[in-house]
């Protein structure tokens, strides 16, 4: 593991997206930032800007209105990036899964790397999920490198 890969796991900046959540999960996510749980000791910082973020923390189920917003924010994040779906709604749509206006979990719109179940999950579970997802950064970075190589080869051909 190179120094950049080590740094990736030690400095994940998260962006928190509320996708029609009932705010139960949001409160637990914010609780993880409080002095009691203090995620900053893992280098995790809550940023408001998708362009600075590495990990997207999504709460709530997705409906047609928020799907566009979610996709837009996801596309603004630079590679390598991870997505963490929080709660029962984020994972599958939860009790709202059968509603006529709900598409389902976050993975219906964007690829999800880790799911944290619970209604709402405890802050410890959220921190655990985030730390578990960080192991995926190396594979993500490799995929990004390969994609860039393919892109460079294509532009060279043109």
């Amino acid at each position: 593991m190179g120094i950049i890969n080590t740094s990736r796991t030690k400095s994940p900046w998260i962006i928190h997206v509320n996708c029609t959540a009932c705010n139960g999960c949001d409160i637990e996510v914010v609780a993880a930032l409080t002095p009691l749980f203090d995620v900053e000791r893992f280098g995790i910082v809550n940023v408001g800007n998708p362009k600075h973020a590495d990990v997207m923390v999504v709460t709530g189920s997705v409906n047609p209105k928020t799907a566009r917003v979610l996709k837009n924010i996801y596309d603004q994040m630079p590679e390598p990036k991870l997505v963490l779906a929080i709660g029962a709604c984020g994972g599958t749509g939860g009790i709202f899964a059968e509603c006529y206006n709900v598409l389902g979990g976050v993975d219906k719109v964007i690829p999800v790397d880790a799911y944290v179940p619970g209604c709402p999950p405890r802050p410890e579970a959220i921190i655990d999920g985030a730390v578990a997802a960080l192991g995926l950064f190396e594979a993500k970075a490799k995929a990004m490198k390969e994609k860039n190589a393919v892109k460079a080869a294509e532009t060279a051909k043109v």
């Binding site: 400095s11 893992f42 280098g43 800007n49 600075h52």
Partner: protein, 284 residues
Amino acid sequence: MIDNIIISIIAIVGAPIIGGLLFGIDRRITARLQNRFGPPILQPFYDVFKLFGKESIAVNQTQMLYVLAHLFFAIAALLMLVLKQDLLMLMFILAFSQIALIMGAMSVRSPYSKIGAQREIMQMLAYEPVLILMAFGVYKITGSFMIQGVLDYPTPLLYSLPLIFFAFVFILTIKLRKSPFDFSTSHHGHQELIKGITTEFSGTQLALLELTDWYDLIILLGLLTLFFAQPLWVGILIALACYLLEMVIDNISARVTWPLMVKATWVIGAGTALVNIIWLYVRA
């Protein structure tokens, strides 16, 4: 000549290492003041290395040029400091560095970035008079704008320029973008401007901006050291004490509005600096 080259290389390599460590200690102390455990001391380095590894999504082609200008002018200012060159020119080069950042933030379409840049202009408007008055005060005492003149002067400058020292510590809060004057690029927790002036910088560009912040910190602490230059280690200790004071002020104060900042800095900062200079004339 060879000496100068060696000093320059040590400064260019050493300043970001010391600056990064100081920022790490800053984050740790801030966390402890808030009753948290806090990140590792090396956290700023992890952040910067990670940012260097991110995908580059530049908004336009000139953006990178402004970021590099911001960095290189800061390095040039640092070199002028360690090679004991002209103090007035150093202030101008520091201003150029800041203007490059403002132009970079203005070159994109994001309104958050533009509001951040405008607030940065207001900050420059507030602190530049104090910097110029400081250079003038040093000239009045030592008879030259050269930093070499300060080091050769037999007594510490503080005895003749106490109020200018106070004014400089006052504007240090603005230069370091700490609360109560942290509105051009807000702290991570306060997101009313997303990230203000750095909103549209990402990946490598943001890493270079962080690197420039470390150089800036060393330049500012170096300028503080000048007030106590005999002996040098006392100056360095006083500069570090001032940095600690900034951390405490950062944590105990809420953000003010920009009109209040400009008024306060011009009245308290530039005002006390002017009083000091008038006193120098009266005394003479």
